[in-house]
Symmetry: none
DNA sequence: CATGAATGAGGCTTCATTCAT
DNA sequence: AATGAATGAAGCCTCATTCAT
């Protein structure tokens, strides 16, 4: 019983070890240029071992996203359930949640958006694709529910909450990817946080229904 | 002289022919899975010929972006120079310009954002990287100038115009990439236009300085 | 002593368990595509355990043949010793013995001939090779002795009995392999038995010395 | 026009060059242990080049058989058409044809029978499998037609000609594979020819219908 | 004895790039 | 300038085998 459990934990630890290594390597070299051997070396394992834990390179890559999406989802659902708070507060929580998820693991977040905007997506196993799709949909759904309260209160403009959530999500990924790409081009300063804060505020203000005269 | 010129034109024509083919192939297969032979076949040329016009695959890929960036820049500068019009009109023009650029060649726009969010960027020749960087900066600059007028008129909040332009650009790329990736996952409907229109409107409204009480 | 013995029996039981599993897997996937893990799973053992009973994959493969060769040998020697019977009867017994051996375990017989006609043979340990060689020679010898009686009786043509046994053996393996390969190509009907019976009869009739005029 | 033709010839020459190398390597190491790099080296080409002429290893392997089957078919059809000759002569021609095909390229014949009796067959492309199947069927058909004449003349026993052809084919492959495998085990003497000649004679004699008393 | 996770050599294959024609 | 056959480096992945538990 205890043995079964310990093994399970061991296995999970190894997965993490690999994921951590993969994260570093993918971030440093990008998906295309990172090799399985690079990752194996970084994880201090042999190439073959990676395949005991992940079916192939694509799936390893996608696995990075799964975890962060799960974390994102938890945070968003938590915010969505804060029935008590006023809208203002809830939007603040939402912004904070998104930034926290970014801070939690910037490299993985970036990887995730790369995944989203790449052809890797097309080559995932149906299972994994379904899982990602599912998590994404749920996360978008949570965001939509938060925004919806603002609409119901008559504070936000009356648009389809999912459409608004899509835009917020696009803004999030857009800011992260663009600021990231500026780093490649330009410098090593990181403007993600302040830029997203400003963007989020503008977005929130833009959502407010014009006061009836 | 005339001969020189004609040759130049011929050469440019070939480049375009290749770029058009590359565009199709990259869009269909993604950068990673598209091969130079695919592109050569699509262009009805031999693989070797591609290398007479482009130094390597990365540069060919990046070249797609150059053109669209040039077009974008022209459109933005045109809007920026519309001194006459009122802010409202200018923002409309800006939105229209961005959407036009997207409509002009959606595939290439998508490619460009993929490029931005990929590791290819890191492997470009310094020359090409500089050119892209330059065009991007100019485009961002144009956008910033347009937004700046709103700030000077006291209509828009007083934030650094470049920061605002960054956000608008992030929103643009974010919406396009996200809607595009939804297509991979889900269906073949295209929500880029309406989503960006809504996003742009929210953004614009969010820019407006709150009326002093 | 009793303990020693029981252990020995246990060990043999395990070997058989593995051999049975290997037989199934080799037959289903062929030697090249069957993995040691496949076999271990089929035997409900771990891969490592296989190596406690067989030095390596080749030897495990070859071991399948050993058993059937032993069985074949016993049957053939039994027929060879039937001094009493008339030639006709003895040839019938011979045919029956061969078909029985085939029926006893078609999969293993097929494996054996595959082994014979493959490159695995070349990679066996000298010991195992010697054992197979030995059994084969003995089996061929038994067949030769049976045929020899016919020659001595003046009924069969006077050729080297070993050469005739070679031919009979070749016919046996040829029919089995060819009918088997037809199954891959065409259908799932099994013509081994009737074809070999006919072949054997033709062969036997062909052996008869032409009557002196 | 001439250019087209020369290219075609060049291409065919290269294919042959590769086939010859493959033949040597497969024969020496067997299919399983032969690597594409081995073959490339033997052909004094780079590994990549092999794939310009053969889709993969299996197909290269199978291609060896195609040629010899074609040659076999031609020879058999030629014999089948010898309407003039007496049965005796025709059977002699048949035997000679089979032996000639063996002599034409023993290594390839052996390869072909290995292919037949291996799992490679199962992994061929449908096209190639169809081609092999087709050639085999035709060859068997030709043999059957030859034997059929003997039946019609009342000289041979009245069995289904295809069944008889199957047996002859099995005998042919059986003798070759068995003699070949004896070489691995024992020596380097080659008994294929004499053994098959004897086997064929026995077979032919066995075919003769018993004289009505 | 048994396990099964880990190994790592090595196979097949792809494809960007070159270069003789 | 154009070709396209050839290259060969390098990637992904498999799997027989080992060894610490």
């Amino acid at each position: 019983m205890g043995i079964q459990e310990r093994k399970e934990r061991e296995r999970e630890r190894r997965r993490q070890q690999i994921i951590i290594a993969a994260k570093r390597v993918f971030s440093e070299k990008g998906f295309g240029r990172a090799t399985m051997e690079d990752i194996a070396k970084e994880a201090e394992l042999s190439p073959g071992t990676l395949y005991l834990y992940f079916k192939n390179k694509d799936e390893l890559y996608a696995s990075l996203s799964i975890r962060i999406l799960q974390y994102l989802l938890i945070r968003l659902e938590h915010v969505a359930k804060e029935a008590s708070a006023c809208l203002e507060t809830r939007m603040e929580s939402l912004k904070k949640a998104m930034l926290d998820v970014y801070d939690f693991d910037p490299l993985v977040i970036i990887n995730m958006f790369h995944l989203q905007s790449s052809d890797t997506l097309r080559n995932l196993s149906p299972d994994l694709l379904t899982e990602i799709k599912d998590l994404s949909r749920k996360a978008l759904g949570s965001m939509a529910r938060i925004l919806e309260t603002g609409i119901r209160e008559g504070v936000f403009i009356d648009r389809h909450p999912i459409a608004l959530a899509d835009i917020l999500w696009a803004l999030f990924s857009g800011v992260i990817l663009w600021e990231e790409s500026k780093k490649v081009i330009d410098a090593d300063k990181d403007f993600v946080r302040p830029t997203f804060e400003l963007a989020f505020d503008i977005f929130t203000r833009g959502l407010r229904a014009p006061k009836p005269a």
